[in-house]
């Protein structure tokens, strides 16, 4: 993208300033001027014709398409599956092309919200790098040939009962696919099918098997949980059901003085973890320990809770030991209303212990419900190793690899690539010509889930139906279709297969069609949530604890935005600042400041060549079990000492034009033993620049976040605005230090002004006036809103180099603040100031106020002076320094929202509360004569938000939710002292620390001294090079 833009610049420059060498060899000054003048005149004559360009064509349908009116959006229900759970979605479709995905309010796993993966999936559909052609040994082949060739092999295998057939796929919850699998294995009893995920939930599966004698799936109910303890489980992101978990968890944290949660009813979250996760960042108490210590802590806590088993206190620090008694007391106090969660990167023994604790605390049946494990099959790395051995032994004649990329993701100690090369016939079905496609003889393009029929289960087992939104863009087949084509007599479409399965389930043939149509329309199949399973509690059998690693431990986690690497070619996800680290376009070896100091590692702001938003950081060599990987370091306060965290999913060699070569490949260190292992870290002396947005768009430490504790809030809800009288305020204002003074005024004098300082009479805002409130208590920083905004508003990506120059274009950013291990997230979109500083500096009136209180941005009027951005105290305006929007790739154009202008180079842009949605709803309401109900217009960020922390509406409407939020005593304006009167306001973050816990007493109510992490980081890193912090 960057290169393209640079080319565009060069080309333009050539046109305006002709190259003198073109004018011949003997070029004197006079001749040059003549040529330059003539060509400039020609260029301007050609470029500035006043006549309109051709108006273009209108191509109507031949026959009217039913229910479709050109330009109007239709909505269809579908679903996306990731990591063993599906989320129900509603897809917006315009003239047959899907443009936006939202959560399906009728699906229990979504309730209308979504996550960053489902928001970004729409870009994946249109990805021009998707595989388009069936390949045989790299040469194009037809489907007929491919099918005939592969069926011939299958026929040969039929005699051997399929002894030479192996299938490797990711895990799926699809009942139809499970049936196909069963049928296939019935007919080919000697064949084997392995379902293996690189970032799957094997440990949870095995842990529940250890605890109950059979694998069971746990459904957690956070709405009933007063106390939650997470043992390194990031239940607010990346976990099955995390969207619903966020909603239920947030519902217990929406503290209000009127209605809502009272401070006493607020839930409490304890997190013990190594890497700072989204859950950890939202914890009321967080303990950072090495990965192996999590289990030791769990055992010690279990002992404290009275569960028989040896407690290993030896490895615990003083701080951890101090946690045990008060934590156990708090959990015991809330018996039946607590939850203990265990992360998937931890061994099964810890999961079993988690079950033991939940059992002892009476949570089973209260906050936890067990069901059958509904993934069709769960195979771990052992099965993958067996498969590799079989492949290598030439016992296998045909291997099918379905929607899975083992060459890239297989553990480093399994020589999968070598084994695969020994198989006579290998077939890969996938969206991309990825690493595995290159290693297989056949590659068959896969259909995207938005092009396929399917049925997948949500986190509680409820079946959600996938329906195609568009004909397959690049042809391709779904897993179901490939399997029927190869193994069944008749090739069946995925639609037929799914319908046939459900016809059988429904039973009644007569009513099936109506029932099916209803189900497809609604998106979910009712009453398919799996019934509660009575588990037999076998008692906690103590096993060997994971031994602590000697020096440093390395933990492997799924990437917060790329997951296991499957989204590596999605530019939105690459450029999305990762929720906690704010890193883009890279992964890093994440260490704590103390560990960095111990190893002599450091990072510093990168300040050269126009780069002012990057981090220059040490490159280290990570050595583990005889394998090495080089990685840049990211020093993250809050990370456990003595450990390093790496995210998987980067360093792809064949991801596509976006994802190839981004970051380093952590899979090369990861062995079949999951989770974490010992590592050596060696400084290489090399440096590398990371594009980390933590320090971007800083509000320079001017008290942007307000926070308090639940107890403090109960005592003094009006803690933000002390009751000042006019005289006192005047005195305070006069006492402010003169302009230009470098000493900041004392905190008391920086209180929000009660009386606007204006020479003009008060403007009366009548009629509908839009406003927004954002609840900082419930914002988890998950970043779904950022991607949702990007999809809705045609926001371009800019690439790593431009991010380093602080030129990322996201209209809503999530600022992260940290102090004493506590984290706060603050989403900052345009504040829509009533006294907007940007408006009166625009020389061309391109940004002015609308009648309903929006700070309109008129792109076609903007000439790009950037005065507005300079004058914006919130730093929410984004400038197209280059032609960031891709105007040339045809494949990407259908994704764009036609209701929003695609901005070109030299134009300022920013959030306008999704004005296209507002105007659309207004027109619809005026045409139909019906009123706009409160909440009917949702901004894209609000709609996506899993914790519903954002509320938008008419601030003049009596009883509107946004008005209620804004009338809360802890509502405040960001930088309100500047008298900008923003329409977006914030509800102060309220946390619920336990006074009995270490540090619980000292959590100050005012974090006025909070400063953006980046500043603190860099200032000290620069002053003390070599010490890391």
């Amino acid at each position: 993208m960057t290169e393209l833009s640079d080319n565009a610049l060069t080309l333009d420059a050539d046109a305006v300033y002709p190259n003198p060498r073109d004018a011949g060899e003997s070029l004197d000054r006079r001749h040059f001027l003549a040529v330059a003048g003539a060509s400039a005149a020609l260029a301007s004559a050609a470029g500035c014709s006043p006549r309109p360009a051709s108006h273009g064509e209108i191509v109507p349908y031949v026959r009217d398409a039913e229910g479709l009116s050109p330009g109007a959006a239709l909505t269809f229900a579908t679903a996306m599956e990731l990591n063993g759970a599906a989320i129900g979605l509603l897809a917006t479709s315009r003239e047959g092309r899907p443009t936006k995905l939202e959560g399906n309010p009728d699906h229990v796993g979504s309730l209308g919200s979504s996550d960053l993966f489902s928001q970004a999936a729409i870009l994946g559909l249109y990805d021009p790098d998707r595989s388009k052609q069936i390949l045989h040994r790299g040469a194009p082949a037809s489907w007929t040939d491919a099918r005939a060739a592969l069926r011939a092999i299958v026929e040969l295998e039929r005699k051997r009962q399929g002894a030479g057939i192996r299938i490797l796929s990711g895990r799926s919850t699809s009942p139809t696919l499970a049936t196909l699998r069963r049928d296939l294995l019935d007919r080919f009893p000697q064949a084997r099918w392995i379902c293996c995920e690189p970032c799957g939930r094997d440990a949870a599966w095995e842990g529940s098997r250890q605890a109950f004698g059979e694998p069971v799936h746990a459904v957690h109910d956070f709405s009933k949980a007063d106390v939650v303890l997470s043992l390194d489980c990031d239940f607010l992101a990346c976990q099955p059901g995390s969207v619903r978990a966020q909603r239920d968890f947030a519902d217990r944290r929406r503290v209000r003085t009127q209605g809502g949660v009272t401070p006493e009813r607020m839930n409490r979250l304890y997190v013990v973890e190594s890497m700072l996760s989204v859950a950890g960042a939202n914890a009321d108490h967080r303990l950072a320990v090495k990965p192996s210590t999590v289990e030791a802590f769990g055992r010690a806590l279990a002992a404290e809770l009275g569960i028989a088993g040896a407690a290993e206190r030896g490895t615990l620090t003083e701080e951890a030991l101090a946690w045990l008694a008060p934590l156990a007391a708090d959990l015991k106090k809330q018996k039946g209303h607590s939850l203990v969660l265990v992360g998937d990167s931890h061994p099964p023994s810890l999961h079993a212990l988690g079950h033991a604790m939940n059992h002892a605390l009476g949570n089973v049946g209260a906050t936890i419900r067990f069901t059958e494990w509904f993934e069709s099959a769960v195979d771990g790395n052992a099965a993958l190793r067996d498969l590799a051995n079989e492949l290598a032994s030439s016992a296998v004649s045909l291997v099918l690899i379905l929607d899975s990329n083992p060459i890239y993701t297989a553990p480093a100690d399994i020589a999968f690539a070598e084994a695969l090369s020994k198989v006579p016939h290998s077939v890969h079905l996938g969206l991309y010509r990825d690493e595995t496609a290159a290693a297989c003889q056949w590659h068959i393009p896969e259909k995207h889930f938005l092009e396929s029929w399917g049925d997948v289960r949500g986190h509680d087992g409820t079946v959600v139906l996938q329906q195609p939104l568009i004909e397959p863009l690049y042809g391709g087949r779904s897993t179901i279709e490939l399997l029927t084509a190869l193994f069944e007599v008749e090739e069946r479409s995925d639609r037929e297969a799914v319908r046939q399965y459900w016809r059988g389930q429904h039973g009644d043939n007569e009513s099936f069609d109506d029932w099916w149509r209803d189900s497809v329309q609604r998106g979910t199949i009712p009453d398919t949530a799996l019934p509660e399973k009575k588990v037999h509690w076998a008692g906690w059998k103590e096993g060997a604890a994971t031994p602590a690693e000697p020096q440093f431990e390395i933990q492997f986690l799924a990437d917060p935005t790329l997951f296991d690497g499957r989204f590596a070619n999605n530019a939105w996800l690459q450029e999305l600042p990762k929720p906690v680290t704010k890193l883009t376009w890279d992964n890093a070896a994440i260490v704590s400041p103390a560990t960095a100091a111990q190893l002599g590692l450091s990072q510093r702001p990168d300040h050269h060549g126009g780069h002012h938003g990057g981090i220059e950081t040490d490159v280290v060599e990570l050595r583990s079990n005889g394998r090495t990987v080089r990685a840049p370091v990211l020093i993250l306060p809050g990370h456990a000492d003595g450990a390093v965290t790496v995210h998987l999913g980067h360093g792809r060699t064949r991801a596509g034009s976006v994802g190839t070569g981004v970051g380093f490949d952590a899979y090369r260190l990861r062995t079949a033993a999951p989770g974490f292992t010992g590592v050596e870290i060696a400084k290489t002396g090399e440096w590398m620049t990371l594009a980390c947005t933590q320090s971007h768009h800083s509000m320079e430490g001017r008290d942007p976040v307000q926070q308090t504790t639940a107890a403090e809030f109960a005592r003094d809800p009006h803690f933000i605005k002390p009751e000042l009288d006019k005289a006192a305020e005047k005195a305070a204002v006069t006492a402010l230090p003169p302009v230009g003074s470098t000493t900041p005024p004392p905190a008391a004098q920086r209180e929000r002004r009660l009386f606007p300082l204006s020479m003009y009479p008060e403007w009366s805002y009548t009629g509908r006036q839009w406003g927004m409130a954002i609840d900082l208590s419930t914002c988890t920083g998950c970043s779904a809103c950022v991607v949702a905004c990007q999809a809705e508003n045609n926001i371009p990506v800019v690439g790593k180099d431009q991010v380093i120059r602080s030129r990322e274009m996201h209209w809503i950013r999530i600022d992260r603040y940290a102090k004493d291990g506590r984290q706060l997230f603050q989403p900052v979109p345009c504040q829509q100031c009533e006294n907007a500083p940007c408006e009166y500096v625009c020389p061309v009136g391109a940004t002015v106020h609308s009648h309903d209180g929006l700070n309109d941005m008129t792109y076609n009027r903007c000439v790009g002076t950037r005065y507005c951005s300079n004058n914006c105290p919130y730093k929410v305006r984004r400038f197209n320094f280059l032609a960031f929007a891709d105007f040339s790739t045809e494949a990407l154009k259908p994704q764009r929202n036609p209701e929003v202008t695609v901005r070109s180079r030299g134009v300022m842009e920013k959030c306008t509360y999704c004005v296209q949605r507002i105007r659309g709803a207004e027109i619809a309401s005026e045409v139909s004569g019906s009123a706009i109900a409160d909440g009917a217009i949702q901004t894209a960020c609000q709609q996506a938000c899993p914790s519903q922390a954002i509320r938008f509406g008419d601030v003049n409407e009596r009883g509107s939710v946004v008005q209620k939020w804004k009338s809360e005593p802890h509502n405040y304006s960001l930088l309100g002292e500047l008298n900008t009167r923003p329409r977006t306001t914030y509800l102060a973050a309220i946390r619920n620390p336990n006074p009995a816990m270490p540090g619980g007493q000292h959590q100050t109510s005012h974090l006025s001294d909070l400063s953006p992490l980046g500043r603190g980081w860099f200032a000290s890193a620069a002053s003390k090079p070599g010490e890391g912090l």
């Binding site: 273009g56 209108i58 191509v59 031949v62 026959r63 009217d64 109007a72 929006l854």
Partner: protein, 218 residues
């Protein structure tokens, strides 16, 4: 010191002072007129079409309602261009062999859509919506002129922003009773309610709302 300018330069300088004062505004006005002229806006220039469809015949002579073909004009932003199917409703029975209708029959037979040259084109950053204008009593003829008298369709109005704002600043004079929206021949008589009353009755927004940038630009 030698003189830089010769003596004969004086009258030239005097002329430049007076003439410049006249010429500069004159040039500005000329440019303004030029850019609003139909040469630039392409108003009144009939557009060649594959099928020489005549609104004058179908609307003026036969009296077919606008909405018979432009079906979504009351409900969507886009008024709608009829599918071939709509043409064939009649032309399966009348003028079945007409030479000029050959592309229509071909389209119907082969399933390939007709390609019409666009007559009214707004820039991509203008979000015009037909339904709201119709609902507020803005007649078709207000912007499209007497389409019922156009043998080949042309653009009647300049479609410049200044022209849009003329109405958005003071819509009253451009409103008609809702029942007359599709009546191209309608002209206000004394018996009709004045525009101000209609604006009130149809709750047309005030000029502040109608001239907000985001009303049309997003």
């Amino acid at each position: 010191m030698t003189q830089i300018f010769p003596r004969w330069f004086d009258p030239l300088a005097r002329f430049a002072i007076v003439g410049g004062a006249l010429l500069v505004p004159a040039a500005a006005i000329a440019i303004g007129i030029f850019y609003r002229s139909s040469y630039v806006t392409a108003a009144h220039a009939p557009t060649e079409q594959t099928v020489p469809f005549s609104h004058a015949h179908h609307v003026g002579q036969l009296g077919i309602d606008c909405r018979y073909c432009h079906t979504t004009v009351e409900s969507a932003a886009f008024a709608g261009i009829p599918p071939t199917e709509t043409c064939m409703h009649c032309h399966e029975q009348i003028w079945v062999g007409a030479e000029t209708l050959a592309p229509v029959r071909e389209s119907w037979k082969s399933g390939t859509p007709l390609r019409w040259q666009r007559v009214h084109s707004l820039p991509g950053f203008v979000y015009f919506n037909h339904s709201i204008h119709v609902a507020k009593g803005v007649g078709c003829a207000e912007c499209h002129g007497r389409v019922d008298r156009m043998p080949l369709t042309w653009q009647e109005k300049p479609l410049t922003m200044a022209w849009c704002l003329e109405c958005h600043r003071d819509p009253a004079e451009h409103l008609r009773p809702r029942g007359e929206v599709f009546n191209l021949a309608w002209a206000r008589t004394d018996a009709d309610s004045p525009g101000k009353e209609l604006a009130e009755r149809y709750r047309v927004k005030d000029s502040r709302a109608l001239t907000s940038c985001s009303t049309c630009h997003r």
